[in-house]
Symmetry: C2
Subunit: 253 residues, 2 copies
């Protein structure tokens, strides 16, 4: 049984807490948070602490906190013998001040009030030494069947890729919703397409799945679309994305 | 029973043919195509024709052809009494030269070798008169439970929105795949995130679903990501999308 002190009380902390509760390999012995309000949401389910001196000894200190807080918090843990691991995609492992350090990065988007099933979520682990990697792999395998060992540089690139396929994709949905709204149409009308677009690349590569005016080099349709757009950002995005798609197919096909 | 001559032999024609085959409200009496090779793929399943003079009389002539071919082909059908409808998102209904004209636009992405279930696919119909709308609604309801009557302007805007949520989103997946490849990581590692990003907006609005550095105004992470990017198009896209997301949240929240 691995004992874990979970540090943080935000979305990621909540989702990890729920996931670890279902396993018998990992025991969350304490949740630590500086925000009393959020911390209280764990009340009755696990021991809570808001004072650094009250942090228990454990095998792993899992930091599910904002990127900026990782340095400060790990400083407070530097005399602990357990492994200190953060959960950030963008942050170098070396920002953790303890010698016994690592990373436990679940590659998924988390929102409050939305359940996620960890089983298929890739967990990217990294540690200073082999023993650390093994501990984090055990932790990962307790909740997921997709555990990868990747280094800090790979993880940063992966986080960058995640920004493209999640944050930026979601913004394209937002633009779709705005265009529908202008015409009095519900965003619902786009939902089957949104879902099929994602499902398609489960089977085909994005290169094979591409369709549309830019891929076909259909400049007439592109011009007609640009004339329909009034928002400057949307127009620039349309032009840039069409150019990028055209270039991809000129180069690759 | 509505009799339909299906004109065209590409992806959309194939998918519509399969869908109508499962209903007892619509009978495809003939498939017409000028490309003999593609036309032959319908051989044995339905009567085929490649000569305009051989086109049968029917209640509806459904044009599942490229946008450019709509004018020419509808010209050949102008003495027919049946309804002539195209299936294009981007093309004005008035490009059809018959008086009895309409549009039957299934809002989905179609690829060969990938089955789609029409039941949830929005079918957008438009016609010159009420009778035409009713015929196209009947046709739509035979295969889908999402039939909408929308006009040519709305449809063009919807098609534009579809380009954002499908073509452009798929290109962001492509960028994600390229970034993974640079690090020797499989695109598979991004798939759970791709799927969850789409599934999230089935329940939440894109505005509620947004996360990431740009939404948080985390300029440090944005700068770090920009430094990791080498491709000029990717860098421009990252900057423009981040700017657009920041602007959205400054305005709306």
């Amino acid at each position: 049984m691995l004992s874990v002190v979970l540090i943080g009380t935000g979305n990621v902390a909540h989702h990890l807490f729920r996931a670890f509760q279902t396993t018998d390999v990992v025991e969350i012995v304490q949740v630590f948070g500086r925000d009393e309000g959020s911390l209280n949401s764990f009340l009755g389910e696990v021991e809570i602490a808001s004072d650094f001196d009250a942090i228990k000894d454990a095998d792993v200190y899992l930091l599910a906190v904002s990127d900026k807080a990782i340095g400060t918090i790990s400083e407070k843990l530097k005399y602990k013998t357990g492994l200190v691991a953060h959960t950030s995609g963008a942050t170098d492992m070396n920002l953790i001040l303890s010698q016994n350090r690592g990373v436990f990065y679940p590659l998924q988007t988390f929102s409050k009030d939305r359940n996620v099933d960890f089983v298929g979520i890739p967990i990217c682990v990294e540690a200073e030494n082999r023993e650390g990697v093994e501990i984090l792999e055990k932790l990962g395998q307790a909740i997921s069947n997709q555990v990868f060992e990747i280094d800090s540089h790979q993880r940063k690139k992966l986080h960058l890729a995640a920004v493209f396929v999640n944050n930026f994709t979601n913004h394209l949905y937002q633009i779709g919703a705005e265009i529908c709204k202008e015409e009095g149409l519900p965003f619902d009308i786009l939902k089957p397409l949104v879902l099929e677009t994602a499902q398609k690349v489960m089977d085909l590569s994005p290169l094979e799945a591409q369709t549309g005016p830019a891929k076909r080099g259909d400049n007439e349709s592109i011009k007609a679309h640009l004339e329909l757009l009034k928002d400057k950002n949307q127009t620039e995005l349309y032009a840039l994305l069409s150019k990028a798609i055209k270039k991809t197919y000129e180069e690759k096909l």
